[in-house]
């Protein structure tokens, strides 16, 4: 069965989804979902080990050799990200049942889990496939399920947010479709590896340039790269808390993966960065994203909004790393993708706990929680510190690598900017800490109890991951470096 791991990675959650519909009983479905997700997690671990040892794995679907058939292609990069995603999804699911009980009506819970599985499937599908059009198909699976998941939020604004996301997302997807179409037209193939070999001949044509631009714009819409981020904050804020925790940690990562994959492996550095001035553009967008989004975050009254905007800012950091187009830069980006998943997962899950107890995430309602929900708040503090980039947290590691990469490039000014950016984080994180710890609880509100174990366990799992990988960076760094190296190997 080991041979089939690549496909199982995707098929397991996919098949699990309809099965849930047969099981019906929410509690049962939850357990089943959890099982499927953790199975996917295990598979991703095995895959990563295999890839680290033996190098890229190729799997021919339907027994048709590529480029005629669809190929699954696992290399260090996507194995790494698949690991992140399936891992986070599993941890988040631990808390799902408790949180959903409160936030979603009984008869819709089963549907919720199905959609959750489907979006997981979609993301994993995007990651593992080696076929450009297949990417589009699975992109749509994940998006459609995402829209409906977000629309399940209690507040009516969830509907509107979801609709905006649907429009934006579909435009993005169509752009991607156009991009793929143009590539296909010029090369006659859809297989990524094959594309990579055949593109250089036609790289000079205006058509390919257009293809690249369209594809990238589409991806950036999904990535919520500033200034294409409008849909993100509301979507994250009004979605059910669990969904937010899941997406905040994963969905942007997938988009980022597509960006890397197509820029480095398929179009190749020489094209992306010499024919087109992409790096400069990305650099500007990244930096402005960091500053503007962080500044906006400071003025939000809903903590979910705060962290949503901070996510946009964090994407900025990744893009800065990306735009360096050096090995170090890419490593920093990948590392930050991993670390950011840990931070945001922990933070939003903690918020989910707050919603569970307090029923709101408005900053005003955080008064006095420091004493009433000590463990949850402590988690938020650690996550916040990680966001700021304080030593002994993963945030520090990302910052370190990013700045080192920047300085290596000789751009001292940029290094300064990146560090200044994290000062903004200090402000918006500290607003929360202050309200939680140094304000008396709201008069008239009956004292809030600490969140139930169902939350505390996964939250603290993620928090301790934040600290652990902040201290013992061997694993994450090694993989990220290897992945980056392999990408440059492909590119040259």
């Amino acid at each position: 069965m080991l041979v089939h791991l690549p496909i199982l990675q995707v098929i397991v959650p996919l098949i699990a989804a309809p099965t849930c519909l047969i099981l019906r009983k929410p509690k049962l479905v939850w357990l089943f979902t959890l099982l499927a997700s953790s199975l996917a997690f295990v598979i991703s671990i095995l895959l990563l080990q295999q890839v680290m040892l033996t190098g890229t794995i190729s799997y021919e679907l339907g027994g048709w050799s590529p480029p005629w058939g669809i190929e699954y292609r696992i290399d260090k990069l996507n194995a790494f990200i698949a690991l992140i995603i399936s891992g986070v999804s599993t941890v988040v699911l631990l808390a799902a049942q408790t949180s959903i009980e409160k936030e979603i009506p009984q008869e819709k819970q089963t549907l919720f889990y199905i959609l959750y599985l489907l979006s997981l499937t979609g993301m994993l599908g995007i990651l593992t496939t080696g076929d450009a059009f297949n990417v589009f198909v699975f992109l749509e699976i994940s998006s459609l399920s995402a829209y409906s998941l977000i629309a399940l939020g209690k507040d009516r604004r969830a509907l509107w947010a979801s609709f905006q996301y649907l429009i934006m997302g579909t435009i993005g997807a169509t752009f991607i479709l156009i991009g793929i179409g143009l590539m296909y037209q010029m090369t006659g193939t859809l297989n990524m590896a094959d594309l990579a070999t055949r593109l250089p001949e036609v790289a000079e044509t205006r058509t390919i340039t257009t293809a690249y631009v369209f594809f990238i714009v589409g991806v950036c819409l999904k990535l919520a790269l500033f200034p294409l981020h409008f849909w993100l904050p509301n979507a994250y804020t009004y979605a059910p808390s669990i969904v937010t925790a899941f997406f905040a940690a994963t969905s942007t990562k997938v988009a980022a993966y597509l960006l890397i994959r197509f820029t480095f492996s398929i179009f190749g550095i020489s094209f992306s960065f010499t024919t087109l001035p992409m790096e400069t553009l990305f650099l500007i967008l990244g930096i402005s994203g960091i500053f503007i989004a962080s500044t906006v975050a400071i003025y939000q009254d809903n903590i979910k909004h705060v962290f949503a905007y901070s996510s946009v800012a964090q994407v900025g950091y990744m893009i800065v790393g990306f735009s360096l187009t050096t090995h170090a830069g890419l490593t920093a980006m990948l590392l930050h993708m991993f670390n950011h998943a840990l931070m945001k997962g922990a933070l939003f899950l903690a918020l989910a706990a707050v919603v569970y107890r307090v029923g709101s995430t408005r900053i005003a309602d955080f008064q006095g929680l420091g004493r009433q929900m000590p463990l949850t708040m402590a988690a938020i503090v650690v996550g916040g510190l990680s966001l700021i980039g304080v030593p002994l947290t993963v945030g520090f590691v990302s910052k370190w690598y990013l700045v080192v990469a920047v300085i290596e490039k000789g751009w001292w000014w940029l290094a300064g900017l990146v560090l200044l950016g994290s000062l903004l984080a200090v402000i918006y994180v500290w607003r929360i800490v202050e309200t939680a710890y140094f304000k008396a609880p709201i008069a008239g509100r009956q004292p809030v109890k600490e969140a139930p174990m169902a939350f505390l366990v996964p939250v603290w799992l993620l928090v301790s991951a934040n600290v652990y990988f902040g201290i013992d960076t061997r694993l994450s760094v090694e993989i990220a470096t290897a992945a980056a190296k392999s990408l440059f190997g492909v590119a040259q």
Binding site: L385, I388, G389, V390, P391, L392, V397, K399, W400, V403, V404, I407, E408, W412, A415, G416, L419, L420, S422, L423, V426, W430, E434, Y437, F438, I471, D472, T473, R474, V477
Partner: protein, 496 residues
């Protein structure tokens, strides 16, 4: 107990941090909780002393924990400068904690458990800073220190306290991330190592302007050294309870700052390189300016603690000058002043606290004639002031003396003048207080409420520190040897 020195070294750092568990666990029983704190402090002091003795016998003590980033690890080693800092800190912490217990109970403050926890973590962090073997380790504990002292500053939880806390955290965390970390990264990229090395780490052929910039980043980035314009946090932190101020000013925070400055200038740049950097001179003047300005402002403060705060800023300037003079004697003077000022200033704060507890006075103008009612306190205050000013019979004399020597043999006449002037200023803003207390006539209002001498716990603490100040005048030898050995000791083997 016959633990190896390495173990003791690690325990200095870990024990306080783990003691928090005990403190939280015992939050219901005051006495036990305090007992834990006391025991911890005793043990830390014990181990530091035994490490000191070990160092005397010429042992090299270093511990290597784990590698955070390739080529960068958390590791510790003992060298004279750190030794000085550790000795002062652990000793004074012991005193402070006893004082604090008396004070906190006297005021029966709430959130005491949180208070003692943060106190413990803070001292652990200080030990980490003192024994850090490389900049990364130092930086980590530097930040831990900032974060753990923040709740102490905002302890009262009032609007004012929160505002103070915001300034405190904002400046310290801000500067450390924006400048200090930046400087560290720069050093890493240029020198390829962050280990403290005798004579500095930078290769000879590096462009000095670049290094100059990095030096500036360091000096500004180490906000704890309170070089203007980044000194605002210190007065802002005055909202904290007195023991905390004592901790901030004498034991932990500011000393960690100047200590870091010392370390950076001696063991990262190395005084030879330092003396030729283009930015050293301007920074020197900046420090000088800080000294003068701070003294002037101090004179115009009526609030006792605020006055002491600004005086601290001034004194820190001295130490920075000592470091930047880039001459052996300067370094000796500076590092001796770390100790001298510590004892002097902590005494002053204890006195201020005692006055607050016993007489509920916080303004200089209210102290007329208080000396008759609180003789011991005021006497101590007088001696400590002498220490800060640098007149016998207090230890401050020596450190100031070496600083003057240092500025002479580097022909920094301006600095020399500044130092002299500012000593006069010190007299001008410190001595009036005891004078008012002893010679002025007591206002009827004061005599109305029969003020008594401060509670015993406080008096003991005050007594100890005062005696220490004088002792340092009479036996400066051991301190001097440590200080002078800073430059001779060959660097300890790194990163094994």
């Amino acid at each position: 107990m016959n633990l190896s020195l390495e173990t003791l070294l690690q325990l200095c750092i870990l024990l306080p941090i783990f003691s928090t568990i005990g403190i939280v666990a015992l939050r219901r029983h005051q006495n036990l909780r305090e007992a834990v704190s006391i025991f911890t402090s005793l043990f830390v002091f014990y181990s530091v002393v035994s490490i000191y003795l070990g160092l005397q016998t010429g042992e090299t003590i270093s511990v290597h924990w784990l590698q955070i980033l390739p080529g960068l690890s958390v590791s510790f080693t003992v060298e004279p400068l750190g030794m000085i800092f550790a000795l002062i800190a652990s000793f004074l912490w012991l005193v402070t904690i006893t004082y604090a217990i008396g004070y906190m109970r006297g005021h029966n403050e709430d959130n005491q458990t949180r208070f003692y926890c943060c106190f413990a973590i803070a001292i652990g962090a200080v030990m980490g800073v003192a024994f850090a073997d490389n900049l990364l380790t130092l930086f980590i504990f530097y930040e831990v220190l900032t974060l753990s002292t923040y709740p102490l500053v905002t302890h009262a939880g009032t609007e004012a306290a929160k505002k103070g806390g915001r300034t405190y955290l904002g400046i310290l965390l801000g500067t450390s991330i924006a400048f200090f970390l930046f400087a560290i990264l720069g050093t890493w990229m240029i020198a390829g190592t962050l280990d403290f090395t005798q004579g500095g780490v930078f290769p000879v052929d590096v462009d000095t302007t670049l290094l100059g910039v990095i030096l500036v980043l360091f000096i500004f980035g180490i906000g704890k050294a309170a070089i203007m314009p980044f000194h605002r946090w210190l007065p802002a932190a005055m909202v904290a309870p007195t023991p905390v101020s004592a901790l901030l000013h004498a034991v932990a925070v500011v000393k960690a700052g100047v200590f870091t400055v010392m370390k950076v200038s001696v063991l990262i740049f190395g005084i030879d390189l330092l003396s030729i950097l283009p930015t050293t001179q301007p920074l020197l003047y900046l420090a000088g300016a800080t000294v003068l300005l701070a003294s002037f402002i101090a004179m115009r403060q009526d609030n006792l603690k605020a006055r002491l705060a600004y005086s601290t800023i001034g004194q820190l300037g001295y130490i920075t000058i000592g470091a930047l003079l880039a001459s052996p004697i300067g370094v000796i003077g500076g590092s001796m002043h770390i100790a001298m000022h510590a004892f002097g200033k902590i005494t002053l704060f204890f006195c201020a606290g005692a006055i607050l507890v016993a007489a509920h006075k916080s303004k200089v103008s209210q102290l007329d004639g208080l000396g008759r009612r609180m003789p011991i306190t005021m006497a101590a205050f007088f001696i400590a002031s002498l220490g800060i000013i640098g007149i016998p019979p207090a230890g401050g004399t020596w450190s100031k003396w070496y600083l003057l020597m240092g500025s002479m043999d580097t022909e920094q006449w301006t600095i020399l003048v500044i130092l002299l002037i500012s000593s006069l200023l010190n007299i001008a803003y410190l001595l009036p207080i005891p004078i008012r207390a002893f010679l002025y006539k007591e206002s009827p209002a004061n005599s109305a409420l029969g003020v008594k001498e401060a509670p015993l716990a406080c008096l003991i603490a005050i007594g100890i520190t005062t005696l220490a100040t004088m002792a340092l005048f009479i036996y400066p030898a051991p301190l001097y040897e440590l200080a002078s050995s800073i430059l001779q000791t060959t660097s300890i083997a790194h990163g094994q």
